[in-house]
Symmetry: C2
Subunit: 337 residues, 2 copies
């Protein structure tokens, strides 16, 4: 309510100039003696007292305008309803807060239109950078991002055609872990259930799977938005083919498959063993719990955020960042909770 009090009000109330108030407000943090602008302690205290009393809140808009910095980062994930991305969101938020950044979140739902709209809308908010999970078909939008010069880091998947800053899990190695674990559990005839969606995380998993098991081990594809229906079909294939081991290429997909298998009377973990990618709270229901490959979520968050901060600072100093295209590849680990 009561109109926002500005730096000017503080100045008048404290009987000093506007500039001085600004100096004091900016030096408040530095406890050491070597502040750039020295202010007599008495006036400083008076100003701080007045500011506190009047409950002064600096206008971020004015500061943004003047400094040309917003300290806002845009984050575009695939699906905020998936605990996988929800966890990344939480982790990113923590790190951002620590570094005095605010995050704008968006959920693309694997829809390139939505993805693009989010990029545009975040650009309009003058974000200093992006952390994004690109979707199939987001190529043109990514290209625009690159052309814009706004720093960004791609996570979770990489775009094979573009060479850009990226933080991903070593999905090939993760697949090896999953397959070997399944074999150690005694599975002889293994298949994989994957998304038809051609994103690097999926193709990397599928390729390694083929390398390890050859063409006899089939890969059944499911649609991202039709998992439930497709799961029934895949469950039938598993039963008909007599497979005793399944690699589920994502948590959502595995859960859908588990439901279908159970409904069809399959004894999961007995007749058919499953190892999945990514955490789900469903796994613990089974006996023994379904094992899964856990991606280092908090590490993905921290590495990508720090990478982005680095790019932003670099760009801020006027340095060219268009040549930076490091790929950070993190290892996954096998879990069973």
């Amino acid at each position: 309510m009561a109109k926002n009090i500005t730096i000017k009000d503080i100045a008048r109330e404290a009987g000093v100039s506007i500039a001085l108030v600004s100096f004091v407000m900016n030096n408040r943090i530095e406890a050491d003696g070597k502040q750039k602008y020295r202010v007599s302690p008495s006036t400083r205290d008076r100003i701080l007292e007045v500011a506190a009393r009047m409950n002064y809140q600096p206008s971020s808009a004015a500061r943004m305008l003047r400094k040309g910095r917003t300290h806002v980062i845009g984050v575009i994930l695939s699906d905020m309803g998936n605990i996988f991305y929800g966890t990344i969101a939480k982790e990113l938020e923590k790190i951002a807060t620590l570094n005095n950044y605010t995050l704008l979140f968006g959920s693309s739902e694997e829809d390139p239109e939505r993805f693009c709209r989010l990029v545009k809308s975040f650009m309009e908010k003058d974000v200093e950078g992006f952390i994004v999970v690109p979707t199939v078909g987001s190529g043109p939008c990514m290209q625009k991002l690159m052309d814009s010069g706004v720093p960004f880091v791609v996570i979770d998947r990489y775009h094979p055609d573009y060479n850009v800053p990226t933080v991903v899990t070593d999905n090939s190695d993760a697949t090896r872990l999953a397959v070997q674990d399944l074999q150690k559990q005694g599975a002889k005839k293994i298949c994989m259930a994957s998304y038809a969606m051609r994103i690097s995380s999926m193709t990397d998993r599928e390729n390694r799977f083929r390398d390890l098991l050859g063409d006899d081990a089939p890969i059944f594809n499911m649609g991202f938005s039709t998992v439930d229906a497709d799961a029934d079909r895949v469950a039938d294939e598993i039963i008909a083919g007599g497979y005793d081991g399944v690699i589920g290429a994502s948590n959502i997909l595995t859960v859908a498959l588990l439901k279908s298998l159970m409904r069809k009377g399959v004894k999961v973990q007995e007749d058919v063993k499953i190892v999945s990618f990514d955490f789900s709270n469903v796994y613990g229901i089974f006996n023994p719990p379904i094992r899964y490959v856990l991606q280092p979520l908090s590490q993905i968050a921290s590495e990508s955020a720090e990478f982005l901060f680095y790019l932003i600072e670099k760009k801020q100093k006027g340095e060219d960042i268009s040549g930076i295209k490091d790929k950070i590849i993190l290892k996954a680990s096998l879990r069973n909770d």
Copy 2:
């Protein structure tokens, strides 16, 4: 990269004044003839062409500063990793986009310190309003919010001591649905598993439960951050007490309980039937699927967002909104997927 182009660059390039560019940019949407400032079509087209060619993006900071509006809303949920809040986040995002608003998301993790920090940090970003899920202990912070005069809407739970704009589910009625369903399924000896946390959603459920079943039906409490350990204890109580029906007061809690019961060899849905609150993809694993009370998530999102927009517009016009404290109560429905 290429320095941001401003309205000034457009003006120079198009050979007109800065003001004219501004007019054109603001009237671009209105297709009808009664624009406030009329500009000759030829110059307008030229300006638009130049703006498009130079890829002009107005600085939101400058606009914010000038208009005193940010079109940003702060949303503080309890746990972004929970599909319940994740879904609300998605729905809110959709509505916000439609109304030209951007959302700042935060996750309190039921920690009042975090909650407060988020409120403060969002305030500093000059959000025009809040949609919040208050936590236990957030009272002082909520009070500050009220005093600040920034419009806000509380969702999911209400604070019994404060009379503020609220959108919640009718948890009492939802409990009736759950209990009656459990009885229809044949459960004779029913108990409830709830959070120790004293928030209205939980207490409303517990109170109605007691009203319906009397003191013979116990309510077992679990800690929010210790559900897994507590679930084991509660499972023991359920087994020892010979209960054949359980109301799980939240999805997370029910899932934890399901794990414990399974591990202890209980035949869920046979020896012990469960009806839960809120969706989880775990339910479908059971046969028959575990039934649950679904809160109208997208309705909660749309009602709260529209309520907030209304408050913001009202306040924008200088009207007093401190007297508005409507509570919108929505009905839940029983599901089994």
